[in-house]
């Protein structure tokens, strides 16, 4: 259902008797990567959870349902003009803050974190939806200050707008999502043209904050990070911990799983997954399942699909019909990039584990649906760019 919309040229009124044929074109490469990852996710989940006591295909079935819901939303969003979101920036920002505050006050608790609401069909995680809302709102705010990008004030205001939700999700505590929020803000400012010196200053502030949180605060007896967070941050440095409940042990098992997959994977013989040595094999460590089951080949295919996603987001950034679209593409690209690198990096043992889901692969309704909504926005930017270009060439002809 496409509504009447301003065309770049002409009156904007279509002759009723002769409707213009609008070929609704999605970015097929982006769609291909999306569907490929969903397919990989279903196959891997089914294998990872085959021995679980729940009914045999429980996780894969649920993930499939989430994906279908997400794909419908994705197509719906792709078919509307993303530019409208710009006017809603304040409402979107307040919605995001409201949801995150609400979950802090009322949400359910898993393993000491307050991250989700119990809904009839799945656990809704507001901080996931918050990522997309932040991209939509913050891009609009950046755009409003576009004339003053060189002001220090602009940089600090944008950073403040991003840090407010960041601190709230870190209080849940959800360190990983906080990192994504910050990266989204940095990417938006980077693309919008914030001065290099401002970035350098931000780096300095970040380094100082890290020093305070990690060194000075614990030294004076006011630890900011929870015990398990510190464990996670430092576990990848000492993996040979023998206690099976420790982070180091789990990372070690994940690495063993990936390594044992060798070139082509162990298939049905994937004992690390099947015997339950991999903790959280359907969420945090799903990439390790891919590595064990499908080997280097499988892992490389999954990574290539992610590379395709990132490349398409950068490509869409450059063809967007307006700057708002470009910023959206940058924000979504940064979000995906951060998630993939932090999650996979954790699995292969070069990054701390932060509990970030691997987009489209990890089991979870909030993550899958929100990622597909983000990809829908990206598709919308693409569709609008194509239509603008088509309109232009048509009128020139």
């Amino acid at each position: 259902m496409q509504q009447h919309r301003d065309t770049p040229f002409g009156t904007g009124v279509q002759p009723f008797s002769e409707p213009r044929v609008r070929i609704f074109r999605l970015d097929l490469l982006l769609l291909l990567a999306t569907l490929g990852l969903i397919g990989f996710s279903l196959v891997t989940l089914d294998a990872a959870t085959a021995d679980a006591t729940a009914s045999a295909h429980f996780y894969a079935t649920r993930q499939g349902i989430y994906a279908v819901v997400g794909l419908i939303l994705m197509i719906a969003i792709a078919s509307i003009d993303y530019s409208r979101f710009r006017e809603l920036k304040t409402a979107l920002y307040l919605t995001m803050m409201g949801l995150i505050l609400m979950v802090l006050a009322l949400g359910g608790v898993t393993r000491g974190s307050r991250r989700w609401f119990e809904l009839p069909f799945f656990r809704f995680q507001p901080s996931e939806l918050g990522k997309v809302l932040l991209v939509l709102a913050l891009s609009a705010f950046v755009l409003d200050r576009l004339r003053y990008m060189n002001d220090r004030q602009t940089t600090s205001r944008i950073m403040l707008l991003a840090l407010a939700p960041t601190l709230l999700v870190m209080a849940q505590p959800d360190l990983g999502t906080g990192i994504i929020y910050v990266n989204i803000a940095l990417a938006l400012m980077f693309v919008a043209g914030t001065k290099w010196t401002h970035f350098a200053a931000l780096m300095g502030v970040a380094a100082a904050a890290a020093t305070i949180v990690l060194v000075i605060a614990p030294a004076v007896g006011m630890p900011v990070l929870k015990g398990y967070q510190k464990d996670r941050l430092t576990a990848f440095l000492h993996k040979n911990n023998a206690d099976p409940r420790s982070q180091g042990y789990q990372l070690n098992q994940a690495q063993t799983a990936i390594g044992s997959g060798r070139k082509t994977g162990r298939g049905e013989k994937s004992s690390q997954t099947r015997l339950g040595f991999l903790p959280e094999s359907h969420t945090d460590f799903i990439f390790a399942v891919v590595g064990e089951r499908f080997g280097f080949v499988g892992a490389a295919i999954v990574l290539s699909l992610y590379a395709l996603l990132i490349w398409r987001s950068l490509r869409i950034l450059t063809i967007a019909k307006n700057l708002y679209g470009a910023l959206l593409a940058a924000g979504i690209g940064a979000m995906l990039m951060t998630q993939v690198f932090v999650n996979v990096g954790g699995n292969v043992g070069i990054m701390p584990i932060t509990g970030i889901p691997l987009p489209l692969m990890s089991y979870g309704g909030s993550s899958v649906i929100v990622t597909l909504i983000a990809l829908g926005i990206l598709q919308s930017v693409y569709v609008q760019a194509r239509e603008a270009a088509a309109g232009k060439s048509e009128s020139l002809a």
Binding site: P8, V191, A192, D243, L275, A299, L303
Partner: protein, 623 residues
């Protein structure tokens, strides 16, 4: 200006292009790092990690949950748990080559005293069903066998001793027929929804209360997952799920009543059964069968020879529960049902007088009173008091002439000839003979004659083809006692947690309500009261001196070569019955001879009457 502002068409400036290129470059570098890391892990060090993964093994150790206790209505423990030792084997630690493996299993079978073939089959079967988990070979292994196995561990690879729970019956034969037995869950049962959460090798209730209330009594087994290396050495515990003990089941059984009933039957020395029930709601106070057995023999699995002996009719078939499976004609105790039918259908009024001249001639056959007695002209209450057969022969004949199976219908309504719905498996239906039933058999040449009025005459006094068990009689008498409610008898009363807090009440409502008029009830009750209290009453000698007024009916059923079946069904106290007792004893002679004294003992236990008053004169010196 670095970028054009607003919604105007965007132009990619060199500045923007540079920044996008930098973003792309960052992405490229990050992907590159991950690819190289993957290459290192999977291609360069893959073999090392594969060896590490193969060294990782898990063993799941079941932590058995104790089953819930079964207690009587006052909390006396009837079924308890005890720990025992079970010998298990880890199949993956047995030799892989078949000759050595066969030698190992044969050696093990010898020590445990089981057949090598059966042992091998069990190992193969269980390993397939639950891999990486030990297979239990024998439970309740004596301590010296355990010591022998442990001292010679090298000769018995993979053998382990595990502590398990077995059932214990502290009162031995008491209530044996109620509890039922446990057994390993079968493949067939695993598919049923009532066994959700049960795993192969778990033991579940297979009969009696253990079966009926299994889902409450069985707990949920815990599990401990232990990581071991390729040599089976434990490296650490991966996860533990603590066991959840089963819930406690409180029965409506009264220990004293149950014991009195079983003792009374045992002292008669003859096979029989009894039921004591609260007529108001169907709570079973006592239910037993003689001969009994000690269920402790089943606790660890019974040998075939013992099992055969427990089923042998020549031995009295101790496993048979005569209270719910015994099928006997009920003799004169059936007169309550005939009386109800006659009064409710208008065949008689309480004051209708019929003449008992000692015999009734129908179709050339003479139906006589027992003992050659003749009671002259009498109405229904008096006929019940003295148990005039001729009076009820006449009622049977009248009913047959009226047609419409009046007595049969009322018998079924009162619960005869069909299962009562008690919460014990294995209940039988019995038989209410009717013209249609016999004529159908005759048409199929399964019997020598069609229905005759004589059949109904016999049926009216509980003789002939009628088949009922004590529980059905107790239910029928309860319906009169409570004014028309056909109760659902039940043994289970409450499900509780281990501290006795109530989790669920078990109170099945009545099966149906019969509109029995108070005129009918009063006539029958007064007749039965007189039978047990007034001079000339059939059980008056038995209940002489009993401090509580009861209303009861004797019965003596002729079973041909099997001798006379002694019956007694009694309600007490007379004015507001709180207990109905039905007793039957095979070859017990007259109802007043064997069954009524036993019933008196049960009532004495229920009302807390002790000493001479409890047993009465008849009990001490049977006439």
């Amino acid at each position: 200006m670095y970028l054009p502002s607003g919604d105007k068409r965007m132009i990619v400036t060199p500045g923007l292009a540079l920044r996008v290129a930098i973003l792309g470059g960052i992405a490229l570098v990050l992907f590159g790092i991950i690819f190289f890391r993957l290459w290192y892990l999977q291609v360069l060090s893959g073999d090392k990690y594969l060896a590490e993964a193969n060294d990782n093994r898990v063993r799941q150790v079941k932590v058995e949950a104790p089953r819930g206790q079964i207690v009587d209505r006052n909390g006396t423990v009837l079924v308890d748990n005890r720990t025992a030792l079970a010998v298990q084997v880890m199949p993956d630690k047995l030799a892989t080559d078949s000759v050595r493996r066969a030698r190992e299993t044969r050696r093990l079978a010898e020590v445990l005293g089981v057949r090598p073939g059966a042992l091998r089959r069990k190992i193969r079967h269980d390993w397939k069903a639950v891999p990486f988990s030990p297979v239990t070979l024998k439970t309740d292994v004596p301590l010296d066998t355990v010591f022998y196995l442990q001292e010679n561990q090298t000769r018995f690879p993979g053998v382990e001793v595990e502590r398990i729970f077995l059932r214990k019956y502290p009162h031995h034969t008491l209530g044996a027929h109620l509890f039922g037995t446990l057994g390993e869950v079968t493949q067939q049962q695993l598919k049923e929804s009532r066994y959700n959460g049960v795993q192969l090798g778990d033991r579940v209730g297979q009969s009696g209360i253990e079966y009926e209330y299994d889902r409450y009594l069985r707990g949920r087994n815990g599990a401990s997952r232990i990581q071991v290396d390729a040599l089976g050495r434990p490296k650490g515990e991966l996860s533990v799920r603590p066991p959840k003990p089963g819930k406690q089941l409180r029965l409506s059984i009264d220990f004293g009543v149950q014991k009195a009933g079983q003792d009374a039957l045992a002292s008669s020395g003859k096979p029989g059964g009894f039921v004591a029930m609260d007529p108001r709601d169907g709570e079973i106070l006592g239910l037993g069968s003689n001969p009994s057995y000690d269920p402790n023999v089943f606790a660890k699995g019974v040998s075939e020879s013992v099992y055969k002996r427990l089923q042998d009719p020549n031995n009295g078939a101790p496993l048979a529960d005569r209270a719910i499976q015994g099928l006997y004609p009920t003799g004169s105790t059936f007169k309550l049902i005939t009386a109800t039918a006659a009064l409710q259908s208008g065949l008689l009024t309480p004051s209708t007088v019929l003449f008992d001249g000692g015999s009734l001639n129908v179709g050339g056959i003479s139906f006589r009173n027992a003992g050659g007695a003749s009671y002259g002209a009498l109405a229904l209450p008096r006929a019940l008091q003295v148990s005039s057969d001729v009076f009820f022969y006449r009622v049977g004949l009248m009913a047959d002439q009226r047609g419409g199976d009046i007595i049969q219908k009322w018998a079924r309504r009162l619960g005869i000839g069909r299962p009562t719905g008690i919460d014990l498996p294995g209940e039988v239906a019995g038989l209410v003979p009717s013209p249609a039933w016999r004529n159908r058999l005759f048409r199929k040449h399964l019997t020598d004659r069609p229905w005759t009025p004589g059949d109904n005459i016999n049926f009216a006094v509980g003789q002939g083809d009628l088949q009922a068990d004590p529980l059905q009689m107790a239910v029928a008498y309860s319906a009169i006692a409570n004014g028309g409610k056909v109760v659902t008898p039940h043994v289970g009363m409450r499900v509780e947690d281990s501290d006795g807090r109530v989790l669920q009440e078990i109170a099945p409502g009545p099966k149906r309500r019969l509109g029995i008029s108070s005129v009918t009830r009063d006539a029958i009750m007064s007749g039965l009261r007189a039978a047990a209290n007034d001079p000339g009453g059939t059980s008056e000698p038995v209940f002489r001196g009993f401090p509580i007024t009861v209303a009861g009916k004797t019965g003596t059923a002729q079973r041909g070569a099997q001798g006379d079946q002694s019956w007694y069904v009694v309600m007490a106290p007379y004015n507001d019955p709180r207990i109905v007792v039905a007793v039957t004893i095979e070859r017990g002679g007259f109802g007043a001879e064997a069954a009524a004294p036993a019933a008196r003992k049960i009532l004495a236990a229920y009302f807390g009457i002790k000493g001479k008053k409890a047993n009465g004169t008849a009990g001490n010196a049977p006439n």
